[in-house]
């Protein structure tokens, strides 16, 4: 098997058994990146030299018998994670020259377990987008059909897994930014419960919604990655100090008797027929495996997108105030302070980011705050309560990830509302703060991957991983590979 096709657990066995070295694996990955990158555009920065050096260190550890599950595994991470000494752009021109003096906790955790960094992945600018078209560093193409978008905002993270440019990747998910691209690119993507993984060193888009998570080839790898990422971080006041279970150990427990909810608001008329078909087939599979289905309702689903675009943009308008040209990042030539501010930000931010800053500034403005921001917070509470009530009767929920498979590049770029609706099934999970995962569940007639979403209770990652693993064992969707 080609090294670049391997999962984490396969590569780990090979490394541990000394059939292969991390240096060989890393070199193979770097060659693969070079070969396919012109067609995909997953990366903003490839860190070849650092990767080879890290691989050599990993090999020394392995030689000493210290071979952790992630030791020597070549990974790539979204360019939203700060990496000390390595340029971090967040897909924005305003950070084209930003070299961070510190690293994100989540990356440090992987690095400390011996993982090798291949580079920084392309994304929508400041994680604002569902297609990776808002990046200042070029579009990323879907490895299954390069005329299609990979999804976003972690489009580079999903495309890199699908194009086998990294064994696994890290993304962030504010309204579906891990799950939607994972679905479009046919990989596994997990958004953990809010507070499960540290946000320290992750460039903030919407602080109350942002969460870090892995994108992998299979559920087994996803459990390994989550286990490495999860845990309390004293540097993030919103990270939760609750024990980290052994996610891998939970996987083989099966789904017999598992109560799976089907929220009726997620199976709407406008659903793409291929997506509907894949969902029906998945339900059948789970039934065969012994799961029980319960029809449930999440009655405030219709308000989720509007609520999200008030809360997320309000927080973003404040989070992005620090990009002012004073201390770091892009600074425009100007005569006075005000001109420096306006020109730096006008030149540095792209149009989607500007749109969201303006929306959010408006929602927080005196006279509008109660009507928009406060109202949105109240609706958010109703949406959370929807989930709490529904989870009283079910263990997990099964829904589509996105209403359609990946759409064409350019198709929705001039229609923000249509673009925003592609996250209609993922956004409520972020508002509720709970966890969810996208796993491969079929293909459209034109050969594009379709994902299914498993939504868990808060800190119920074990259950959705277990449900995902059972599905994966019973199907072969995750083994298919994009022909690139």
């Amino acid at each position: 098997m080609s090294i670049f096709n391997m999962t984490i657990h396969e590569l780990h066995s090979a490394l541990k058994g000394k059939q292969i070295s991390s240096l060989e694996a890393t070199s193979a990955m770097l060659e693969r990146i070079e070969a396919v990158e012109p067609h995909i555009g997953s990366f903003i920065t490839v860190t070849s030299e650092q990767a080879l050096a890290a691989a050599k260190s990993a090999d020394q550890l392995i030689a000493r018998g210290e071979c952790d599950l992630l030791t020597g595994i070549p990974l790539a991470i979204k360019d939203i994670f700060l990496t000390e000494g390595i340029r971090t752009t967040c897909g924005s021109r305003i950070l084209h020259n930003f070299i961070p003096p510190y690293s994100a906790t989540s990356w440090e955790k992987l690095r400390d377990r011996g993982a090798v960094l291949l580079g920084k992945l392309n994304q929508d600018e400041f994680a604002m987008g569902s297609s990776n078209e808002s990046s200042a560093y070029g579009v990323t193409r879907n490895p299954w059909d390069t005329t299609c978008i990979p999804g976003g905002s972690s489009g580079g993270s999903a495309a890199a897994v699908a194009a086998r440019q990294a064994t696994a990747t890290l993304g962030t998910d504010t309204g579906g930014s891990i799950r939607q691209p994972a679905s479009h690119c046919g990989c596994v993507g997990l958004k953990p419960t809010y507070g499960r993984v540290s946000r320290y060193g992750v460039i903030a888009y919407a602080s109350s919604l942002d969460q870090v998570g892995p994108l992998t080839r299979d559920v087994t790898d996803c459990a390994v990655m989550l286990g490495a990422l999860a845990g309390h971080d004293p540097k993030d006041s919103t990270s939760v100090d609750t024990p980290v279970p052994n996610y891998s150990a939970a996987l083989p427990q099966g789904v017999k008797g598992l109560r799976i909810g089907l929220p009726k608001e997620y199976f709407i008329d406008g659903l793409d027929p291929d997506v509907q078909k894949a969902m029906n087939a998945a339900i059948e599979t789970y039934r065969r495996l012994g799961a029980e289905f319960v029809d449930i309702s999440l009655p405030h689903t219709d308000y989720a997108v509007a609520t999200y675009y008030l809360i997320a943009t309000a927080e973003a308008s404040s989070n992005l105030a620090r990009y002012d040209g004073v201390r770091f990042g892009h600074r425009a030539e100007a005569d006075g302070l005000l001109e420096m501010y306006t020109r730096s930000r006008s030149e540095g931010f792209g149009s989607e980011v500007k749109r969201r800053i303006m929306l959010g500034t408006y929602a927080l403005s005196s006279g509008y705050y109660d009507a928009y921001y406060v109202k949105a917070q109240k609706v958010r509470t109703l949406i959370m309560n929807d989930f709490i009530s529904a989870f009283a009767n079910v263990d997990v929920m099964l829904t589509p990830v996105a209403p359609t498979p990946a759409f064409k590049i350019g198709e929705k770029i001039n229609d923000p509302l249509q673009m925003y609706l592609s996250d209609i099934f993922t956004i409520p999970v972020n508002l509720a703060g709970t966890c969810a995962m996208s796993i491969p569940a079929g293909f459209s007639a034109s050969g594009l991957p379709i994902g299914l979403q498993l939504i868990g209770k808060p800190f119920g990652e074990e259950t959705i991983l277990r449900a995902g693993f059972a599905f994966e064992q019973a199907t072969e969707w995750h083994t298919r590979k994009a022909t690139i």
Binding site: L82, S318, A321, D324, V326, R327, T361, L364, Y373
Partner: protein, 480 residues
């Protein structure tokens, strides 16, 4: 027409924590620019705030000492505006649900009458950095940003508009200053900006119950300036109204050199701060137990201590006030009376010799070279008749200089008081013999000459003769 001024104060109290409110950087004043910074206080992408528990403890102390309710669940909010000294483009502060609410201070005005001044709220927030102009070592003539002060913890204490005169405002401010320094949560240094004040001033016709439009005066950084600024502003507003104008809502800057205020920005130019709860910080939940623990750890406050000094020690109001003007002074006094129970004498010496010597040498009571126990030893020597009060002053000066014990100095220099009547009598005889003229004057009715004789005897005894024995013997002898 007569006008009634209405004044409210907003006071920023810089807290004496070792580290900043949302990161572990030092709060030390005067270091190399930007040497005390980290990703959090530099506002770098990805950095997140973590609340310093000490700040919460200090805020609770301040709240309990000003009769506030402590909010069981308080939240932090972002105050959004752009300025180069504000690294994140917002200040983390509190807006709705501040940590302390609805308190008051009773201030003494016109002698004994007490007036209650409401405290609307006390909230926690971070300070901004500062801009440095024209002092850059590098090329060009731009301005620099020093973020050492950014993220330093502050309390903002907001009063109700209950103050009516500049004197009331200053009295309130001094009382608040005394409380925060007494609690040890602020160094009170107004020059370095550790305790700074904005004043909201308006005027309305006497008898009216509709408040006038207010102006907020910034940058009044001494008690004297507060008085000046408020008085100037009251008169400016009255003059404006008398001339047919109207006061506009605005922010004005006090200029200490001219003693005037000038417009800084109008209401139209005012920022829309777009406050909203900071999603990076969870709500701060303070349990009743925590509040109770803080209450028990509170030191006795100046007001209570002043009252105790009067009730238990019988000190007059003036003495009690002076001796409680700072916690260190009151502690010194109490240590003194623990070693020597003559409270009046200990108080007098502290207010007299000690205070004078501290002032002359520019020393603080904390660094006073004579410790309370040593002062008590000196006073014991007076009270048991070993030395006279006059000699004691000489001994005091020597103690200050050398650090030696009073007893040692008295012994080394032979300063023990002479009360032996035989010895004093022979001195008196000698002096009367040498000043026959004055003896005659006295005996012919010029009793004022008595003082001359006392002085001569004391001089001859080098001050050591016991004055009461001298008086008695001299009187007998002169009367013949």
């Amino acid at each position: 027409m007569k006008y009634q001024p209405v004044i409210g104060l907003e006071v920023h109290v810089q807290l004496l924590t070792d580290t900043k409110i949302f990161c572990g950087c030092s709060t030390k004043f005067g270091s190399e620019p930007n040497s005390q910074t980290c990703p959090v206080c530099l506002g770098l992408p990805g950095a997140l705030p973590v609340l310093n528990k000490k700040v919460v403890e200090f805020a609770i102390k301040a709240g309990l000492s000003t009769n506030c309710s402590i909010t069981p669940r308080s939240i932090f909010a972002r105050k959004n505006y752009f300025y180069p000294d504000l690294p994140k483009g917002y200040q983390i502060s509190q807006f709705e649900d501040p940590i302390c609410q609805r308190g008051w201070l009773d201030i003494a005005v016109d002698g004994d009458a007490l007036k209650r001044i409401g405290i609307t709220r006390i909230h926690m927030e971070e300070d901004a950095g500062k801009l440095v102009h024209g002092e850059l070592s590098g090329p060009g003539d731009g301005s620099g940003v020093d973020l050492n002060r950014a993220c330093t913890p502050l309390l903002e204490v907001v009063s109700e508009p209950d103050l009516r005169t500049s004197d009331e405002a200053v009295t309130y401010l001094k009382q608040l200053h005394q409380i925060v320094t007494w609690l040890g949560i602020c160094d009170g240094n107004m020059e370095e900006g550790s305790f700074r004040c904005d004043a909201n001033v308006s005027v309305m016709p006497v008898g009216s119950d509709t408040l006038g439009t207010r102006a907020e005066i910034k940058n009044v950084n001494s008690f004297k300036f507060v008085k000046q600024a408020i008085e100037y502003e009251i008169q400016r507003q009255i003059d404006l109204i008398e001339d047919g104008g109207t006061v506009v809502q605005e922010t004005r800057l006090f200029d200490p050199t001219s003693g005037t205020t000038r417009s800084m920005r109008s209401k139209e130019e005012a920022h829309d701060y777009r406050y909203f709860p900071d999603p990076d910080l969870v709500p701060l939940v303070i349990s009743d137990e925590w509040i109770e623990r803080s209450r028990q750890k509170l030191p006795e406050l100046p007001e209570e201590r002043r009252q105790r000094f009067m009730d238990e020690l019988g000190l007059p109001l003036y003495d009690a006030e002076v001796l409680t003007s700072s916690k260190a002074l009151a502690d010194y006094f109490e240590a003194g009376i623990a070693a020597h129970s003559n409270a009046k004498a200990v108080g007098n010496w502290i207010m007299g010799e000690i205070t004078r010597s501290l002032n002359d040498s520019g020393t603080t009571i904390e660094a006073c070279p004579i410790r309370p126990g040593q002062l008590a030893e000196l006073l014991k020597l007076i009270d048991n008749g070993t030395i006279s009060g006059k000699i004691a002053k000489t001994v005091f000066d020597e103690m200050w200089r050398s650090g030696k014990a009073a007893q040692t100095i008295v012994e080394e220099q032979g300063l023990v008081q002479v009360s032996d009547s035989g010895a004093i009598e022979s001195i008196i005889d000698e002096i009367m013999a040498g000043n026959a003229g004055q003896v005659d004057e006295y005996r012919s009715g010029k009793e004022k000459v008595f003082g001359f004789f006392v002085g001569q005897v004391m001089k001859a005894s080098k001050g050591k003769a016991n004055p009461s024995v001298v008086n008695e013997l001299l009187l007998n002898k002169l009367k013949g």
